[in-house]
Every structure is written in C-alpha cells, then in structure tokens.
C-alpha cells in the first residue's frame, strides 16, 4: 500500500512521451493542441461562471440580485455583508463550526493514530477484525435514526461532544486507513530499540511514532476539516438547538418559506465558503492529495 505522496512524486517526467499528442496524431498536433485548449477553456468557464455570478451578485440589492447578471452593478454595496457581519447568530454559527471542526480533527487524529499503531504493529486476529470493521464503514451507509436513539441513550444528542464523536466515528475508517498505510513505512526497528532501552509503549508512541506521522496527520486533518465544515447531514439530524448549530445549517434556515433575497443569500454563502477557500488556496496540493488518497491507496 503505497502512499499517494509517493505516487505523485513519480510525476511528470513520464509525460514526455505522452505529450507528443493525445491520441498519436502527430501530423495534426497543432490542431489537437488548439482543440484541447479550447475544450479546457470551455470547461474552465463552466466551472468558474457560477462562482463569479455568486460573488458579483452578493453585492447587489434584492431586485438586482434576482436577475443573476454577470456584471458589476452601479448600486453595488457592502450592505448585504454588513447585515450578516452584524448578525449575532452568524458568528455563533461560525463559532460552532470552528469548535466542532477543530474538536473532531483533534479527537479523530488521536484515536486513529493510536488505533493504526496497534493494528499495523500487532497484526493479530483482533487487529485484523478491527481493520475489517473499519473497512465496512467505507461502504455501509449511516443509519441516522438509530444513531439519534443511541445519542439519546448516551445523553449526547444535541451536544457538541455528541456531534464531535459522531464525526469521529464517520471519519475514522478513512483516517485509520491512511495512517495504517503510513505506519508500514515507519521501521519496526525503532520500536525495538526504544523498547529494549526500557521505554514504555506510551512514550514510544508519543515521542517516536507520532512525530513520524506528522505528514499523514496533516493530510487527514485537512480532509476531516473539509468533511466536517461542509457537512449538512449530521447537524440536520443531530443538533436541533439553534445555539449549537454549525453555519451550514443556517444557510438552509436562511432561505425561508417566503422566498429568497438572493443578494443576501449569496453574500452569506461567500462568507461561509471563505475559510475553506483560503485553506484551499494555500494548501491546495495537500487537499487534492488528501481527498483523493483515501480512495487510491495501493
């Protein structure tokens, strides 16, 4: 099970042959290149136009924003944004999202790193069974209604710890796989040396293993952050108190039964996706590798 970072390191040298053309039509390489450029440009427009529309119209008033024009408006103002920023519940939602996301990252990484350490190093029947169990989590869908019931029994329904632990459970399979895979590249000799020197397992784990797992832990942190920040399903069912709802739920609440003020909705959505966009802008490589690594182990 190679890790994605290794695979992407193989990279572009190989493309020298491929780059000659797409399908081997050397004679018409120019035509091919023009065609490829045109298709890619078209694709790019299709991807970006909706975002541009959202951004431009987020500065417009109710009437103008309902026209969804791709132009800047003379009456554009920051009113929509000011309204949102001055809204207490917006900040509460953002705060909730932050608390829930960070807690999930912390708890999931801690539990998964420990679990992966045990599973990969022991490799006994318990480890294999656990590994398989986590595996099923990638395929079997969540039974949300019984989950609510379990949360109620555990007094966790409608609480921060409740949703954090739920996200920990749903992100566990991916994180365990990522870390177990990476553990293989951490030599066993390190363990042996440490243990022979009389180190405890706890010290071995915290002082030797974890520092070596930093790279995959960054990857998993980013994946968990996007998963949790963007998720609607879990808080929709598990958090009824508006006090503890993450910001994503507010978007839904925002568009009330009596129609939509698109300018405000767009501004709201721009604000909600900004944190993720910022992370993406700076760490896009990690994000792409991270989000796809769970699926391309091997």
């Amino acid at each position: 099970m190679k890790h994605i970072h290794n695979t992407s390191a193989v990279t572009m040298a190989d493309t020298r042959v491929l780059r000659k053309d797409l399908l081997g039509m050397r004679s018409s390489r120019l035509v091919t290149n023009a065609l490829v450029t045109a298709v890619l440009a078209l694709g790019l427009v299709m991807v970006l136009a909706p975002f541009l529309m959202m951004f431009l119209n987020s500065f417009k008033n109710t009437r103008e924003s309902a026209l969804f024009k791709l132009t800047w408006s003379a009456t554009a103002s920051l009113d929509n944004y000011k309204g949102i920023i001055s809204n207490k519940s917006f900040w509460r939602g953002m705060g909730n999202s932050l608390i829930i996301t960070l807690s999930t990252v912390l708890v999931t990484n801690t539990a998964a790193a420990m679990g992966a350490f045990f599973i990969q190093r022991m490799g006994n029947r318990l480890a294999k069974t656990a590994y398989f169990l986590f595996f099923t989590g990638l395929v079997v869908p969540i039974s949300i209604i019984p989950t609510i019931k379990v949360m109620q029994w555990l007094q966790l329904h409608n609480t921060y710890p409740g949703i954090v632990l739920f996200y920990t459970a749903t992100n566990m399979p991916f994180t365990i796989f990522l870390l177990t895979g990476f553990m293989k590249s951490v030599p066993r000799e390190l363990d042996e040396a440490a243990l022979i020197e009389g180190s405890s397992y706890f010290r071995l784990f915290t002082q030797i293993i974890v520092p070596l797992l930093i790279t995959p832990l960054i990857t998993s942190s980013i994946v968990i952050t996007t998963n949790v920040w963007n998720d609607f399903f879990a808080p929709f069912y598990l958090i009824s108190s508006t006090k503890r709802q993450p910001i994503v739920i507010s978007i839904h609440r925002f568009v009330s039964m009596y129609g939509t003020d698109w300018g405000v909705v767009f501004a709201f959505m721009v604000m909600v996706i900004t944190p993720v966009l910022l992370i993406y802008a700076f760490l896009q490589r990690y994000i792409i590798d991270g989000l796809t690594s769970g699926s391309l182990k091997g």
Partner: protein, 294 residues
C-alpha cells in the same frame, strides 16, 4: 523479557478509543437498525413493539418508493458514467504538457471542496428559468429553444440535478485518473511506438488496461456516494416537482423522519443499505485483494 514477547504486547488500549467511538456510534446503530426496522417506533410512542415485516410491506406497497428507487439508481448510474467520462477526458488532456496545468487542476477540483449545500443553492440560481445563468446564456447564443425550466419541469428535473453533481465531482474523478496515468511506465508507450501503433490503439490497449485500478475506484466510490445523495436533491428540488426527483435519502427524510415514523424510516434505510452493499461489495473484494500484505 525477550524481544519476541515484547512485540506481542502492544497494549490493547491503543485500539480502544477508536474502536469504542466507532463501535458505539457506527456499528451499534447499524446493528440496531436491523432491530428497529421491524418495529413501530415513532415520535408519539414511548413503547416500541415488534410488527414483523409490516414496515417493509407498507414500503413496497407505496408507489412513491418504487419511483424513488428507480430515481436513485438512474441518478447514481448517470452521475457515475458522466463524471468518469468527463474526468477521464480532462485527465488525458491535462496529462499532455500544457502551460498552467497545475492551475487548471486546482480550478477543476475547486467545486469539490465547496459545501454541497452551497452548490445546491448556487445552481438553484443558475437553473432559474427567467433570469438564471444557464437560460440567459442559451438565449444569448440564439438557442432559446433549449432554455428550459430546469428544476420544475418533471421530465428534466432529475437530469438537471444529475448535471450539478457531475459538475461538482468531475474534478475529483479527474485527479484520480491523473494520478493513475502518471503511474503508467513510459517504456510501455515507447515499445508501442516502435510497433507503430496509433494513438487510439495505444489508448485502448496500453493506457486503459493500466487505468483499470483507477476506473474501479472511481466507479465504485461514485456509485456508493451518489446512492446516498441527500443535501443536493433536498436543496435543488426536495424530491419534486411531485415525486420526479425523490431519492432514497429524501424519501427517508420527507416521509419517515418528517412524519416522525422512525421504524418505517429505518426500514427504508435498510433498503438503501442493501442496494449499496450490492454495488459496494465489489470494492470490498477489490480493495481487500490489494491489502493482502497486512
């Protein structure tokens, strides 16, 4: 203490937190769902009693459910097919040496990191029949006859929701194919060149077989993911107009959860699980085979 015996002593408590949380909040509810799907549990009853297969009998007697299952399958297969086709095409193009190829990769992937609910509302605006971006564009190109009421016309609403998901996830599929393409040894192409093979032949006899792993991963992940679709449909159409875009997860929400019929909803979720398992077992088998060394 010998080294051998110490190796066997990695303490079990390392595994416990992960196992406990996952067991309590994923495995246990999943097992419970077997139990609850045979009960009349609902929001008005404090005492739950067994009613055998009654929930399933009611489910299959519901004409809506049949339409729902068919919608779910159409949605899932269409999204999977289209995003793979387009993802592969984009990957092949980006695999040529192009200027700005990394930037393009980043931008094509962008929709995948945005919250699906935001994408849903965004496309509600794009699809709006009077002023929406899509119809405005079509009219300005002289294609007014193609301008439709994308989300409210029962004949095309499902197609419209499918295209949003394709738009959102093609970048993801593309990245996996790109990684797969970069793993193909260039020697294979060189030998194919010497044989005088042409491009198409090379694609189908060299590239595609070596992409088999990526294809499998992409297809199965997409099938599993799209079967569970909820937020996107809820925001775009909420299963409407009528029942034209009802999928299993919106059905569970609209007809079980919203009515407080928890036993019934759990039974419907069982149907979803079974459908996903039928499609998901291949991934288990496939990926397990690659995990043999553990």
């Amino acid at each position: 203490m010998t080294y051998q015996s110490s190796l066997k002593r990695y303490p079990t408590w390392f595994l416990l937190p992960a196992l406990l949380v996952f067991g309590a909040l994923f495995v246990f509810p999943t097992i419970l769902s077997f139990f609850f799907s045979f009960t009349d549990w609902n929001v008005n009853r404090s005492v739950v009693s067994f009613i055998g297969l009654e929930n399933f009998r009611e489910l299959f007697a519901d004409a809506k459910l049949r339409a729902t299952i068919s919608n779910t399958l159409v949605y899932s297969f269409s999204v999977t097919f289209l995003r793979n086709l387009m993802g592969l095409l984009l990957a092949l193009m980006l695999n040529l040496s192009l200027r700005g190829k990394n930037l393009l990769r980043t931008l094509f992937f962008l929709p995948y990191v945005i919250a699906p609910i935001v994408i849903g509302y965004l496309f509600k605006a794009v699809y709006q029949s009077q002023h929406g971006l899509l119809n405005t564009l079509l009219r300005s190109m002289g294609l007014a006859f193609l301008a439709k009421d994308w989300l409210n016309d029962p004949n095309i609403a499902l197609f419209s929701t499918i295209m949003v998901d394709v738009w959102r996830t093609t970048g993801f599929t593309m990245v996996i194919y790109l990684a797969g393409l970069q793993l193909i040894p260039k020697e294979l192409y060189e030998s194919a060149h010497i044989d005088g093979a042409n491009g198409l032949w090379r694609f189908f006899h060299v590239t595609f077989p070596l992409l088999a792993a990526s294809v499998t991963v992409n297809v199965v992940l997409s099938l599993i993911g799209t079967m569970k679709v909820f937020v996107m449909i809820m925001v775009l159409t909420n299963g409407g107009p009528g029942f034209a875009t009802e999928v299993l997860n919106t059905y569970i929400n609209n007809y079980a959860f919203a009515f407080g019929l928890y036993g019934y909803g759990t039974a419907a979720n069982m149907i979803l699980s079974v459908l996903i398992l039928i499609l998901g077992v291949p991934v288990l088998v496939f990926l397990r085979r690659r995990e043999v060394e553990l």
